[in-house]
Amino acid sequence: MSERNTQLKVSAIKDGTVLDHIPAQSLFQVIDILDLSHCGNPVTIGVNLESKTLGRKGIIKISDRFFLDEELSRIALAAPDATVNIIRDYQVVSKKRIELPAEVIGIAKCSNPMCVTNNQAVTTRFATVVEDKKVKLLCHYCEKTTEEFIPLRH
């Protein structure tokens, strides 16, 4: 597969939010977490773009939409190193890193098939634990650790 050039491949937006430095393989998880498939705003998505730090990255530009920190913190599970750029009139007015929330409610799936959350209509709830730079999820119900983030489907 040939390398693609990121230059001008993704067009600029006037006002909105740009999520950058998303690992390419996590891009669709981020889309799910922010429920962008049901978002009426113009959304530009780039995937497998070249990145010096990540190899292949994804980028999402959402016009005329600004997220709460709480909403953004959820994507830390799929893209811990993502950056958030707030755009006003084509200018980046604020740039910040995603912060990992202490608790994750209703986004991730527990990997334990015997967990009550996988068998009854129970909202999942996890404490986040960082071990060896990896984010792990400790289930509030079955007390088991989920190593890989598995998003719940909307």
């Binding site: 334990n112 015997m114 967990c115 009550v116 959350t117 068998n119 009854q120 209509a121 129970v122 289930c139 509030h140 119900y141 079955c142 007390e143 088991k144 650790t145």
Partner: protein, 301 residues
Amino acid sequence: MSKSLISINDFSRDELLHILSVAREMEETGSSKLLDGKVVACLFFEPSTRTRLSFETAAKRLGAKVIGFSDVANTSISKGETLKDTIKMVSNYVDIIVMRHPLEGAARYASEICDIPVVNAGDGANQHPSQTLLDLYTILQTQGRLERVAVNMVGDLKYGRTVHSLLQALSHFDPEFIFTAPEALRMPAEYKTFLEKRGIPFLETDSLMEHLCDCDILYMTRVQQERFSDPMEYEKFKDVYRLERSMLAGVRENMKILHPLPRVGEIAEDVDNTPYAYYFKQAQNGMYVRMAIIACLLGYR
């Protein structure tokens, strides 16, 4: 004091000691009318005769009435009723719910959807806190202390939830551990890391004889058939350890043998009449500890 008893990890050192002191009072007092007029529900979504009888007797010895079921076959759960609906309904009738459920986290969920205390009597392979409390009570009773006790855990240390919970509860009391298990059923790494972080020493062996004389408590467990998906694997391990009277020469004088019961072949019957056997008294202690749990959660002391 927490409102419910769901996981041993929810309890501080002081709360554990509080329940043990109430249990001692229950053992000394015997039956009473402390919970006269109260109704206790024992909801066993999966059968467990021993635990159910122990909780039901505990409630009755305190003067409470008991309702409930011992398996789901004749209930509306077999018609597809959700756990939420069963708990919501029962919680309107009674003062406290004691429940066992095959799903892990079921008791925690139940405690969040009703306004009365819930006692977890086992949620799948996860927690069984009344077992842990009765183990602590028995260790205290036999050794006169909980601090600095050397505990040798034997058998299925990989899947055995009783040993995992006991290990966590004892970590408050400066213990030493010996883990005796075959290679395939060793103590999981997460528990060893837990101990290392707290500076708690432990040894591992696959030989029952190796550290038999180095412990105050010999905690025997059964290799549970239900945890094995492959029956050949189970056959390989089911008789891996068998404690016999002849092996007990040279053990510490204060050493006591505990077992959560039922036993299969791990402890030969000739051990029963030695001064070291304590598993039947341990089971009896379970009743006093469960009396204490129910009484404490309903506001006594």
